[in-house]
Amino acid sequence: MNSGDISRRTVLSATGAAALAGLLGACGSNTGRGGGSGQALKQWYHAYGEPGVQQAVERYAGSYDKATVSVQWNPGDYDSKLAAALLAAGGEPDVFESVTQISAVRSGQIVPLDDVIASAKDDFTKTILAGHTVDGQVYGVPQAVDMQMLFYRKSMFDAAGVKPPSTVDELVDAARRLTKGDVKGIFAGNDGGVAVLGGPALWSVGLDYVTAGHDVGFDEPSAAVAIGKLRELYASGAMLQGAVKDWAEPDAFTQGLVAMQWTGLWTVPAVQKALGDDFGVLPWPKLDDNGRASVPVGAYGAMVNAKSKHVDEAKAFIKWLWVDRTDYQEDFNLSYGFHIPPRESLAAKAGKLTTGVAADAVRFVRDNAKSSNPPDWAPSMSSALDDAVSRVVREGADADTELRAAAQKARDELKRLYG
């Protein structure tokens, strides 16, 4: 649920607010303990942007009868706060949502949940589940799928006589031809798409972050070609830079500043409200026949803190909420924002996902999904690649040299992790 990220990012800046939230949270934590039936569990969520989510998750927790579950809602910098909590010895929270990272697995911060998910494992979208799997074991039960894709304005394409692009070259060409006066061809973030298009660019030539054999996936000459295309787009003058809101919000697109924008599924309701049906969605296209069109997907997973004093109870709670109670999962995914249930049986059944751009999105997740943040793609590796892509795209550095250096750094890390 990336609309949560938006508010998270905005508030992230206000470190003071985050600290305050921590203090308030600490006060709140006393109230959940004590009374009630059975064990007391503590569950953490980050602050989702959509109204109603907090009440919903509190309602789910409240209706669990095997333990008293107190929900803590965490506005502000959730990741840092969670990281600090997991370092502490207290074992709180027992249950939380996060992305699975190999470092958390290797340092024994989270516990495997294979037995929890066993009964429904085949029902979860493969790519999504793979995002929570390390060394063959599942560490997070996916809650809601988020994805990024390319939004395009149909009327602007028609007026310019441009067809929706099916290759990267067509996309660059379309962006150029759609740039006219105050309208730019495409917006993919104020950094020129560096932070979000690196993955899609690699996938467009059939490469990846990390191979199945835990080796660097982009130490190939074609990586330089793929990232070079991002540079071409950036330098073409067809890319909007310096919009007020960043790529995660649809404002540049809905205000007519651009004909295309790379953003996320979560913006669909806002775009529909502003533009009606004058827009369509596409995956990031392929560059050559080695590659494929792609959409980055990810999902927060429910996890159990290995230091929790109630690991078994916490696992039972996760099984109840995120495996057994499909009605709650459906409610969580479809009643508040705009997300795709990670379970294919639920996604297939959801009425509002069967038509229009939503149906397209569901199809992309089925056919074109790539994990935006695979567990073995550690932050130190991704920051090395992001730095390289940034230098190539924004500063015109030599793509081959930069990517090779990033690949070397990633290879060192992978060697450390897998030997």
Binding site: S13, L86, S98, S103, D191, Q241, A378, D387
Partner: protein
Amino acid sequence: MRRSDTRAFWLFVGPFAVGLLAFVYVPIGWSAALSFFDARNTVTPTDFVGLANYADMLTDGPFLRSLGTFSAFALFIVPTTFVLSLGLALLVNRITVMQAFFRSVFFLPAACSYVVASLVWKLSIFNGVRYGLANTVLGWFGVDPIAWVGSTDPPWYWVVLVTLRLWLQLGFYLILFIAGLQRIPKHLYEAAWIDGAKPGWQTLRYITLPQLRTTSVAVLLLNLIAAYQAFDEFYNVLGTAQGYPPFARPPLVYLYYTSLGSGEQDFGHGGAGAVLLALVIAAVTLVQGKAITR
């Protein structure tokens, strides 16, 4: 009598000392200790690695590059801040009407939150679309909108960052200088005038600046440390939810992402970087202090 003195001493100093120990010295010592361990996602590591983290940081491109960038930044921003705040202080000090008003006006930005100011600079004054304030003004002269924060060639983001920093910090140093100026005895100037010195450059060069020496040293040192410790406005102007670009990246921002980045906390390398940064600041400060005080 003596015993109660001691008790009073600890009564007053105790809480402060305990706080200082618990929240400053222990964390500093702890992070220095962590720098000798492979401390990933743990603050109680067991894997001692000696100086390996330091070796990594000193061969690691990003950290050294950011140290280099911010040494250059310090070379520029320290003299600039110094000259501008001194100039403003001289002007404000000479004003005879509404001096308190002007002093407050120039000091006010120092009371503003860095985060708030960064957002104002980034989102309204220097946003990249045509209706941003700076671009609106440029538009009157027929200049195309500039992507202030996004553009790297030329690096317009420095305009945003430097103006923001000056706006936020000048007021503070201005107050230090005004305090210094008001401590200079009037009779020194009167004696100089009697001896035929002209008001203006001569008195500035031979009376004001020498008398301001201690203030100047303090301002320069604070400024230099602040330049190397830059974080807030950089983080809030250039940082995004996905991370921070590799240019204009302050050492502290790089270390922040290394040790507290989402999903992986590498306290070993982060601690080593923090120690190295502290050493650099100490060394540069000592050299500067020596150079000025001779």
